[in-house]
């Protein structure tokens, strides 16, 4: 269970956000709200890119606040720039493996299946510049799915995709979140996303 209690972040004296929420294992939470309300900041606090000024952030009762980004049980799919331009799509996925993990034939099979499921079949050896922006986001999703860290953060990761492709991604997402007992937070502007996923919504608003 991802638990956030009174988590506060300040930017200068004028801007501050306070968050209280929880996401259970196997659950997807859609985070919505107008621009500048702190949706991305919430994900950055969870990922460790920002430091809170107060409050608690725990995963299964373990305090995440003192941990640097690379030690947190978190994977993020950003809005853009998820792929390294000098690496092929396959290498961009494999680079998500931990230092000690090795790609096994079974893993390659999983990767090929995800590529097929997300409409990326045959693109493993392509370079990012040779595929579309939507395809790049889906490759980043494959990497997040094979990393299978307990907390998955999606920061408007699929906004650029058409609705049919977004649904394909959501199907893969739902299956992996359920099978791996992940807690996923999806920042989105489109209310259809939460409806399709059938998940809980959290609407952030200014005070």
């Amino acid at each position: 269970m991802l638990r956030i209690e009174g988590l506060r972040f300040s930017w200068g004296e004028d801007f501050h956000f306070t968050y209280d929420l929880s996401v259970a294992s196997g659950e997807i939470l859609a985070v919505q709200g107008p621009s500048g309300v702190g949706k991305t900041t919430l994900l950055e606090l969870i990922a460790g890119f920002q430091t809170p000024t107060a409050g608690n952030l725990t995963w299964d009762d373990k305090d995440l606040v003192p941990l640097p980004p690379w030690q947190r049980p978190v994977t993020t799919v950003f809005q853009a720039d998820n792929l390294f331009s000098h690496l092929s799509c396959l290498d961009n996925v494999l680079i998500g493996l931990g230092r000690e993990e090795r790609p096994t034939p079974a893993l390659h099979k999983y990767i090929d299946e995800y590529f097929t499921q997300l409409g990326l079949e045959g693109l493993q050896s392509r370079m990012p510049s040779q595929i579309s922006g939507g395809q790049q986001q889906r490759v980043a999703l494959v990497r997040a799915l094979i990393r299978a860290r307990p907390i998955l953060l999606l920061d408007e990761s699929f906004s650029a995709l058409d609705w049919d492709m977004r649904k394909e991604c959501f199907d893969a997402l739902k299956a992996v979140v359920a099978s791996h007992e992940m807690a996923a937070l999806l920042v989105s502007h489109d209310t259809r996303d939460a409806e399709y996923l059938g998940c809980r919504e959290l609407r952030l608003a200014t005070d």
């Binding site: 500048g36 900041t41 993020t76 494999l94 370079m127």
Partner: protein, 556 residues
């Protein structure tokens, strides 16, 4: 939950770059301060004091400084007068006349060793050069000897006009295609197009570019030494060399160095304020200009052809002269000289080591700079820019004075040469790397930290392959600068320790023209080879995926 909209907060990876970069910056500042301290110390060592010594020699210092300033200003302005119209002509014809090779060819002049350039310029414009030969063939007189101010200006324009041309072309290629479409649609005249579209870009580049070319010409040493032709055409750099190497007047050398340093520091300060175009833009960039209505006028076509042909004569003819003059059977004899072997090994070792050190230090400092808060970044810029102000001859003089009591400076000459070459190349390598490094940090720090790609693993798998082009270019440029350097070796060279440019200079000084021509060709080819090995080689190193390959490059 929130009390309003907020600005985006940038995240930067922490790591070893900042402490290493700080260490590097501290070392650079320390060396510069030690050099300046040594110069001040010796200058003050005369019983009558610095100011008295300076005052006593004021007419000489004033004359030399004045001439240095004058020739540098003239060189910068002439380079601009050549480069600007040629850049516009080139840009007008870039798509129709297939001129991309000309841009690459002009780059040869930038990496060419000065000693080789002198051989090439003499091969075209000299008393026995190609032009004289042609004039005599049609019954006229050959050209007069080209030594003196005219020769110095010609050589400076040869080196710097191509540099300016490349920066101008990069600037012109950054004009959005939409502006060319509008210009074509509105039927703008040549003058209107220049005023409204091209000039706004060019005028941003000119002040910084003229200042940097002025600085390069102000600190020019070997060209003046070889083409100056006598005491009337001498600069501060050459006077420092003469005072140190021939008169062994250390206080005078120190005082001249301090004058040189003060003027260069002022120019570097101006350069920093102008936020100069930067040599990073020397790297070619793609761009597309749409054909405009006035392009087809025959006067414009004729003018462009004349400008481009004139530029070719200026920039490419000396290269051809080096090749043609050097391609004789003497080449085979020169290759067997023991002195050539010794100089070749020394030059290659110094160039490779200097390139690797300069590029490594520039990479660390660029990586550290981007990870500091904005108000701390000036430390790195200052540490690197110091070596635009502290020229190689000033540095060599300072090091000579500093170390002469402790060690035999001629014994450690290779190390001093390596240090000087590395420091002189550093500002250029740093500028080439810094922009891309900042871009990579901005785009990849969060992603890399979230994927636990840190330290050496990140550098090997991500940073190095992504920066390979810039690293290769920086290393190639540093190697070429080191290979062509004839400044510090002029201070520390001996019969036991020679480099190729020094060997070439000595061969020319002994009027062995054919041997010199063969040596010039060998040095030129070696410079191009080494530059090419670094530039091309960097992109073939491991870490970059090969398209359509199933083999992974990222698993350890």
């Amino acid at each position: 939950m929130a009390n309003g909209t907020h600005p985006i907060v940038s995240y930067r990876s922490s790591g070893a770059y900042v402490p290493l970069g700080m260490l590097g910056a501290a070392g650079l500042i320390l060396i510069a301060l030690a050099t300046i301290g040594a110069l001040l110390g010796v200058g003050a060592s005369r019983p009558e004091g610095v100011m008295t010594v300076l005052a006593g020699n004021m007419p000489r210092v004033w004359r030399v400084a004045g001439f240095t300033f004058w020739q540098a200003s003239l060189s910068a302005m002439l380079s601009l007068l050549v480069a600007l119209p040629v850049a516009l002509a080139y840009w007008r014809r870039t798509s129709t006349w297939k001129l991309s090779k000309l841009n690459s060819l002009s780059f040869l002049a930038i990496v060419m060793p000065t000693t080789v350039a002198v051989a090439g310029l003499l091969g075209v414009w000299g008393q026995n050069g190609a032009i004289s030969y042609l004039l005599r063939a049609i019954g006229g007189d050959g050209l007069s000897p080209i030594y003196g101010l005219g020769a110095v200006l010609l050589a400076h324009v040869f080196f710097n006009a191509p540099l300016m041309l490349r920066v101008f072309i990069s600037g012109l290629s950054s004009i959005p295609a939409a502006q060319w479409r509008l210009a074509a649609q509105w039927g703008l005249s040549d003058w209107q197009r220049f005023r409204l579209i091209e000039w706004p870009i060019l005028k941003q580049l000119i002040p910084g570019l003229v200042t940097i070319v002025f600085l390069l010409c102000f600190t020019s040493f070997s060209l003046i030494l070889m083409l100056g032709g006598g005491p009337a055409v001498t600069t501060l750099e050459v006077s420092i060399y003469t005072a140190l190497r021939f008169d062994f007047d250390l206080p005078m050398a120190a005082l001249l160095s301090l004058v040189q340093l003060t003027i260069c520091a002022a120019v570097v300060a101006i350069l920093a304020r102008l936020d100069a175009a930067g040599l990073a833009t020397v790297a070619p960039s793609p761009g597309k200009r749409l054909r405009q209505p006035g392009d087809a006028h025959y006067q414009t076509i004729l003018l462009d052809a004349l400008l481009i042909a004139g530029f070719l004569l200026l920039a490419v003819a000396p290269l051809c002269a080096v090749i043609l003059d050097g391609m004789t059977d003497i080449l085979l004899r020169v290759i067997t000289w023991p002195a050539f072997h010794r100089a070749l090994i020394a030059s290659l070792a110094l160039a490779v080591a200097s390139a690797l050190l300069a590029t490594t230090l520039a990479t660390i400092m660029a990586a550290a700079r981007v990870r500091l808060e904005r108000n701390g970044r000036w430390v790195f810029d200052l540490a690197v820019s110091l070596y635009l102000a502290v020229s190689a001859i000033v540095l060599g003089t300072g090091l000579f004075i500093l170390l002469r009591g402790m060690v035999d400076v001629f014994v450690i000459a290779p190390l001093l040469l390596l240090l000087a070459n590395m420091l002189v190349a550093l500002p250029f390598a740093y500028r080439v790397i810094q922009g891309k490094m900042a871009m990579l940090a901005y785009a990849q720090d969060k992603l890399c930290d979230s994927l636990d790609l840190r330290g050496w693993r990140r550098f090997r798998l991500i940073t190095f392959p992504a920066l390979a082009r810039e690293l290769g270019f920086a290393a190639g440029l540093s190697a070429a600068l080191s290979l062509g350097d004839m400044t510090v070796i002029a201070l520390f060279g001996s019969q036991q320790f020679q480099t190729l440019p020094w060997l070439l200079y000595q061969t020319m000084a002994r009027y062995r023209a054919e041997d010199a021509a063969a040596l010039a060709l060998l040095l030129f080819v070696l410079t191009l080879l080494l530059f090419g090995v670094f530039v091309k080689g960097a992109t073939y190193l491991p870490g970059r995926s090969r398209p359509h390959g199933r083999q992974s490059n990222v698993t350890d």
